[in-house]
Structure formats: structure tokens, C-alpha cells
């Protein structure tokens, strides 16, 4: 925020009238004139959506409904507040869910009760200074000028301040975002040399995870937890690592332990449910999904896939009519959400099939197909595999195979995904056919890529780009092919000179590559060449 404390527009959120009055009177004494105060989350969000606030002072525990964190998440998600808004969370005590939750959105500061006027004023002044201190970096990050943002971080790091760790965090996030894994690794190691902090160690583990050095990642995350068992971010990553290494039992074990320490983290509860589901522990999965649904009831991040998970577990437990009830609820809670509609339709098909109602099942799947065609490239692999699975059970081999072919072609280098496709075939008793399909589909993609490489080597970039662009229409999620196309576009610019339009397109494509597969090796290489091309000297 650019204004001074006195000119700041301020919102006080607290369910106790007496607390609200007290904080408001503190603010008045400080000379603040623009003060609004409300007692419920609903009123708070209404005001936040209508008016721009510089400072929000919010009680964490607001009785029923949303808590302070959920208001903050919703306000940030819906862009009611910007990075310049100062958000202070007032709490009676420090709890694990607040500090070590998987929450990505965090308030600028926590104040423990009792608050006094002088303390509040001192904190507010510090926070205003801090916002101004960080403003240039935040702006650069927002504009996706990552290299400049890192340079700005380096500048800020030259002087010691209370924000050192935060700047280090931003800088390391930027390095990871740019795919500079060796750089990020070296950076975390240099921080750890000075002092072993759980966040830096967890960061190092994340780098190992992204470079697929899972054994090292596991070791590092485990070490963090041995030193500080409450640092649950490391537990989340440890579970992810076990999962990536194929050890789902360990993944579930780690998440169960973490849940016992922070019973209110809904995202983690959902991960636990997913792990138990994959492990076939249906009762555990059911309970966990139900809890996750309950916990995210008031959250802007509540996800239809949690409901879908519960419905699938119920179907697998031979309780298809219960599953249908859950799906009905999903429809009501996620109106106008095409992804939820698709998931609901697919699982409905599964449930009807289980109930011995093949016509109804086919009807549901037909609806699902229509929804899928409406959103090409956006359908999750899980949804496609679920659908294929049901088609096989209904005897519709061809439709099932088409879907799985699509999954294979979009993920031909993703061993984990291929394994899941194999198990769908196995369930349907089609191991031989499945192997043949996987081989053939993989070969097709490899051939197109090779053809493209030949064209590129001959300097025929336009032709190569055209070929891959055409192929990508049916395989929009194949990160390898998108990366190859980026390589050709860069080659074209090296040959013919840089072109802002192509430059922009390559950036968009590379962004997508990173989203699909954060550890794609070509991402960083091309990103670096692109940045060199973009700099004025080139």
C-alpha cells in the first residue's frame, strides 16, 4: 500500500461486538478515519468485494461458518484484495493448523490476543514499511519478469533485515519456477550452511523430487521431520515422494501421522483419502473423504474431486445407491462446473453398472462423452481411465480403447501413467490387447516427434512446426511434443531473427509444459535461450 496509516481504509472482522469496538477505537486513536467493522464472514466478503481495503484486521475464529483463513483465501482467490493489502490475523493462540497447514495463502502477520493499541500501531507501521520494501519484487513477479525479480531479491538481500527469510523464499521459488534446479539446489545448500532451517531443507528436498532423485528427496524430508515433527509441509512432500516411488502404503502411513497432528487440514485429508483409496483400504478412504468434505465445506477451494472420490469408494464397496446420493449432492454443490458435471456423469455410469442397470449406465456415459467433447484438452487422465474402465465392463471395448489411447499418447513418457493404463486393461482381462495398444500409440507419437526433428535438422522449421501443431490438436497434453515445438520456434527465430509474436507464443507453450510436467528437462534450456533472445543485447 502506498498510503500512510492515517489514510488507510480499514476493515475489522470479529464476531464479538466488544472486540470489534475495541479494535476500532484503537484505530481511531491512531488517527485512522476509514474504518468498517463486521461480525460475520458473509458481511466481510460482501464489503471486500465492493470496496478496496488497505488493511484488514480479522479474527481467526469466527464461530460457525468460514474462519478467518477461509475468508482470506476467498478474498485472494476472487481478487478482492491485492498483494498490497495488509491482512492481520488475530488469534487467541498459535495453532498448528494456522502455521503448518498446507495453506498457500498466508496473512501478513498474526497477532496474539490480547492486542494493545501501542502493539497494533507498531505492527501496522512495520507492515506498511515492509509492503513498500517488497513492492518492486512483487511487481516484477506479477509481470513474470523472473530474472529481474531475482536481481531485485539479490539487491534486498545485501542488507540484513527481518525479511531475509522471506526474500530467500521468493528467490528460491523463482529459481524453481524457472526450472533452474541446479541453481535452486545450490541456493538451498548455501542457506543450510549458515543454519539448518526446516523450510530450506524442505526446499532442497523439493528440488530432489523435481529432478526425480526420489531416494535423496525421501532422505531429506525424513530428516526435516526427525528434527521437527510439526513441520508438516515436509510430511506432505514425503508422502508425495513415497507415492512417486510406488510405495503407496508408506505414503498413506505418513499422511495418517500428519493428520493426527493437524486434524483440520482439508487438502491433506483429501490426499490421505486418495492414498487409502489407491491402497484399497476402502473404509479408511470413505471416512477420510467424508472428513475432507466436511472440512472444506466453507472453503473456496472445495473440490468436486473429493465428492467424486467418495462416490467411487462407495461404488467399489458395493453401495452404489449411496454413491448416487453423493453424486446428487455434488451436482447441487457444483452447479455450472463442467469438470464436476463430467466426473459426476462418469461415476454415475459406474454406479448404475454396479446396480445391474446397463442402459442407465450407458446413458450416463453418453452424457459424459458429450461433456468431454465440450472441453478438449482439459479432461483429467483419471476421468478418462474411469470412463474406459466402465466402458469395458459394459462390453464397449472400442470406446474404452479410444480413451486409453488418448491417455497414452498424451503421456507417452510418463511411466506412472502408463502403469495405470496397464492396470485398467488388466482389470478388464485385456492384458495382451493393452500392451499392443500402448506400444502402437507410443510409437506413433515417437514417430511424429522424430519426423519433426528431421525437418528441424534440415532447417525446415515451418514444416516441422506445422506437423507438430497438427499432432498436438489431438494430444494437447503431451509436454514432450510441446517442448519440441518450442525448440523449433526458437530455431526459427535464431535463423530469421526474433519475432515478438512467436516469442509470446513460445512463452505460453513453455508455461504449459511446466504446468503439465514441472520436471521437463527441456523447459529450463529453452527458457534460458528465450531469455537471452529477449534481452536487448541479442
Amino acid at each position: 500500500m502506498s498510503t500512510s496509516l492515517k489514510q488507510a481504509t480499514t476493515l475489522v472482522i470479529d464476531d464479538f461486538q466488544s472486540m470489534r469496538a475495541m479494535v476500532a477505537s484503537f484505530l481511531k486513536t491512531m488517527g485512522v478515519t476509514g474504518i468498517d467493522s463486521v461480525g460475520t464472514a458473509r458481511e466481510a466478503l460482501d464489503l471486500l468485494s465492493a470496496k478496496k481495503y488497505d488493511i484488514v484486521i480479522c479474527d481467526y475464529n469466527l464461530g460457525h461458518g468460514k474462519n478467518g483463513q477461509q475468508i482470506l483465501e476467498e478474498a485472494r482467490y476472487k481478487n478482492y484484495i491485492s498483494y498490497s493489502t495488509i491482512w492481520i490475523m488475530v488469534t487467541a493462540e498459535k495453532t498448528i493448523d494456522m502455521f503448518m497447514g498446507a495453506a498457500e495463502t498466508k496473512p501478513d502477520d498474526y497477532l496474539l490476543k490480547p492486542i494493545t493499541e501501542s502493539l497494533l500501531e507498531a505492527r501496522l507501521k512495520k507492515l506498511i514499511e515492509k509492503k513498500q520494501f517488497f513492492a518492486p519484487v512483487e511487481k516484477a513477479v506479477k509481470a513474470k519478469e523472473y530474472i529481474r525479480a531475482i536481481a531485485l531479491c539479490n539487491e534486498l538481500l545485501k542488507t540484513p533485515s527481518t525479511s531475509t527469510q522471506e526474500i530467500q523464499r521468493i528467490k528460491s521459488d523463482l529459481l524453481i519456477m524457472m526450472g533452474d534446479f541446479p541453481g535452486a539446489k545450490a541456493y538451498f545448500e548455501s542457506i543450510l550452511l549458515v543454519r539448518s532451517t526446516p523450510w530450506a531443507k524442505t526446499g532442497l528436498g523439493k528440488v530432489y523430487f523435481m529432478t526425480k532423485e526420489f531416494a535423496l528427496a525421501q532422505e531429506v524430508f525424513q530428516e526435516v521431520l526427525n528434527e521437527n515433527k510439526m513441520y508438516l509441509e515436509a510430511a506432505d512432500w514425503l508422502a508425495k515422494t513415497h507415492d512417486a516411488m510406488g510405495d503407496l502404503v508408506q505414503a498413506q502411513h505418513v499422511l495418517t501421522k500428519a493428520m493426527a497432528l493437524s486434524p483440520n487440514a482439508s487438502a491433506r485429508q483429501k490426499n490421505l483419502a486418495d492414498a487409502a483409496h489407491k491402497n484399497g483400504e476402502l473404509d479408511v478412504a470413505q471416512t477420510a473423504y467424508e472428513k475432507a468434505i466436511k472440512l472444506s465445506e466453507h472453503s473456496v477451494h472445495k473440490s468436486s474431486s473429493t465428492f467424486a472420490g467418495l462416490a467411487k469408494v462407495l461404488t467399489a464397496k458395493d453401495e452404489p445407491s449411496e454413491a448416487l446420493r453423493v453424486l446428487e449432492r455434488t451436482r447441487n454443490e457444483f452447479k455450472n462446473d463442467p469438470d464436476a458435471a463430467l466426473q459426476t456423469a462418469i461415476i454415475e455410469g459406474m454406479a448404475y453398472q454396479k446396480m445391474g442397470l446397463p442402459e442407465k449406465a450407458e446413458e450416463a456415459l453418453a452424457a459424459a462423452e458429450e461433456l468431454m467433447n465440450d472441453q478438449p484438452g482439459k479432461v483429467s487422465e483419471t476421468a478418462m481411465m474411469d470412463m474406459a474402465n466402465t466402458f469395458f465392463k459394459l462390453g464397449k471395448k472400442e470406446k474404452g480403447c479410444d480413451l486409453l489411447e488418448n491417455v497414452v499418447k498424451n503421456n507417452h513418457e510418463n511411466a506412472g501413467m502408463i502403469k495405470m493404463v496397464e492396470s485398467v486393461f488388466e482389470d478388464a482381462g485385456m492384458v495382451g490387447e493393452g500392451d499392443a495398444l500402448i506400444k502402437k500409440s507410443t510409437a506413433e507419437v515417437v514417430n511424429i516427434n522424430n519426423e519433426g526433428v528431421v525437418l528441424a535438422n534440415e532447417g525446415k522449421f515451418e514444416e516441422g512446426i506445422k506437423l507438430l501443431r497438427q499432432a498436438l490438436k489431438s494430444l494437447p497434453n503431451n509436454d514432450q511434443m510441446i517442448a519440441n515445438m518450442c525448440g523449433m520456434m526458437i530455431g526459427q527465430m535464431v535463423k530469421n531473427g526474433k519475432d515478438d509474436r512467436i516469442m509470446f507464443e513460445v512463452r505460453e507453450h513453455l508455461d504449459r509444459v511446466r504446468k503439465i510436467n514441472p520436471s521437463n528437462k527441456k523447459y529450463n534450456t529453452y527458457m534460458n535461450i528465450l531469455n537471452k533472445l529477449a534481452s536487448p543485447a541479442a
Partner: protein
């Protein structure tokens, strides 16, 4: 009918939490009251008001310590060791207690370099310092001095007063063992126990934090010394 098992410490923790909420509101209003009625009230009423704020704050500090201890005991306290401006933390602790100090005519001074950064859990260490200030408030004549220095890769924070100093009996024992209740002094020893526990949880490069009390320092009174690696 079978009786359900009651977890006493969980019960204590949640009612402590509740008490703390009420107390927070009470302290807020008492302070506001005192700020607004300085001129209206006679000296002895003001004095009583000041004393009730002091007692309420002591209670609050104790409740926080009980809650923290409950969590530390169950290893569920979210310790957050991060780089802090020592100066800022000291100033803040003083601010929190300013009204009450002024009231009793105690002057509190801080001696800390402007650029002095160290790693610790801000809330826990603030808790230690508030506790130390509360003690000093009781025992000092009219001065309290906070000093922070970094020596040999250790941060030392001293809370010194110009009172008569700690009694010999207290100086001789191991301070961390001092959990006993003394009805004659009204001390439960909880503060010392809590402080040395928290100091000890700060570890770095094979070194561990600690707590000591001594007599002497700037004014020759009692000194409360926290050392953090």
C-alpha cells in the same frame, strides 16, 4: 452405565483457552479505561486500576504459559524459528507493558544495536521476556534495563533491575528445577520452568539455549539472562 474416560489435561487446556479469551477482552477494556480516566480519577483509584491490570496481565502470561506447556508437552507446539530483529522484539515487549510500567513510575530502557538479527521463535521468546518483565516489575525499585548482545555465536538477552536482587536460596539451585510452589513469595516457579524449557528448545550447530539468574548487572539488582544459539 460406563463412564467415559476424561482427559484431564485436554479439559484444562480448552478451559484455559476460554479463560484467556475473556481475560484478553478484560485487559483491553481496563487499559482503555485507564487511558481515558487519568484526569478524572483520584490517585488511589487509579492505583487500584493499575494494579488490577498488572494482575490481569500476570494471569494472562500464566495462561499462555500453561497452554504453550500443554502443547510443548504433547510435542504439538508449532515452533517457528525464524530470523528476527532483536531490537524490534525488545521494543515490542516493552510496549506491551508500557502503560503499567509508567503507572508505577518504572523507567524501562533498551540497549540493543539497531542492526541485530537472530533466529528464534518470536512468540515463545517474547513470552519469556514478558515473564521476566513481570518479575522485574515486582522486584525493582524504579528501573529496568534490557540488554542484547551477540557473543561467540550466541545471543544473550538480559533483563536487569535495580531492586535488591534474587535471594541466595534461588541463586544456588538449578533454575530449571524450580517448579515448587512457595506460598510465602507467591511464586509458582512456573515462569522459570517455562523459560528454561523454551530456551533449551533453541538448538543450533550442537549448541543449546539456556536460562540463568544472577545478581549484579548495570544496577546491581536482579538479572534474568537468556542465551540462544
Amino acid at each position: 452405565m460406563e463412564q467415559e474416560e476424561i482427559n484431564f489435561s485436554d479439559f484444562i487446556a480448552s478451559s484455559t483457552h476460554d479463560m484467556k479469551n475473556s481475560l484478553s477482552i478484560q485487559i483491553g477494556f481496563l487499559e482503555e479505561l485507564m487511558g481515558g480516566s487519568r484526569v478524572k480519577l483520584d490517585a488511589s483509584t487509579l492505583d487500584q486500576l493499575g494494579h488490577s491490570i498488572y494482575e490481569a496481565k500476570r494471569m494472562n502470561t500464566n495462561l499462555i504459559q500453561i497452554l504453550s506447556m500443554y502443547k510443548l508437552g504433547k510435542s504439538i507446539y508449532p515452533i517457528d524459528i525464524a530470523e528476527q530483529s532483536v531490537n524490534e522484539v525488545l521494543e515490542e515487549v516493552v510496549l506491551q507493558n508500557q502503560a503499567i510500567m509508567e503507572f508505577k513510575g518504572i523507567s524501562v530502557s533498551v540497549d540493543c544495536p539497531e542492526v541485530c538479527f537472530w533466529y528464534f521463535d518470536r512468540d515463545l521468546v517474547s513470552g519469556i521476556l514478558v515473564n521476566a518483565l513481570n518479575n522485574a516489575y515486582n522486584y525493582t525499585t524504579d528501573k529496568i534495563h534490557l540488554v542484547a548482545t551477540i557473543n561467540d555465536q550466541m545471543l544473550e538477552i538480559r533483563v536487569e533491575d535495580n531492586g535488591r536482587g534474587y535471594p541466595e536460596s534461588l541463586l544456588q539451585g538449578n533454575i530449571a528445577d524450580n517448579k515448587g510452589v512457595s506460598f510465602s513469595t507467591g511464586s509458582t516457579g512456573l515462569g522459570f520452568y517455562f523459560s528454561s524449557l523454551v530456551a533449551g528448545m533453541h538448538k543450533n550447530g550442537g549448541k543449546q539455549g539456556s536460562l540463568a539468574i544472577e545478581n549484579g548487572g548495570t544496577y546491581g539488582g536482579g538479572c534474568f539472562v537468556v542465551t540462544l544459539p
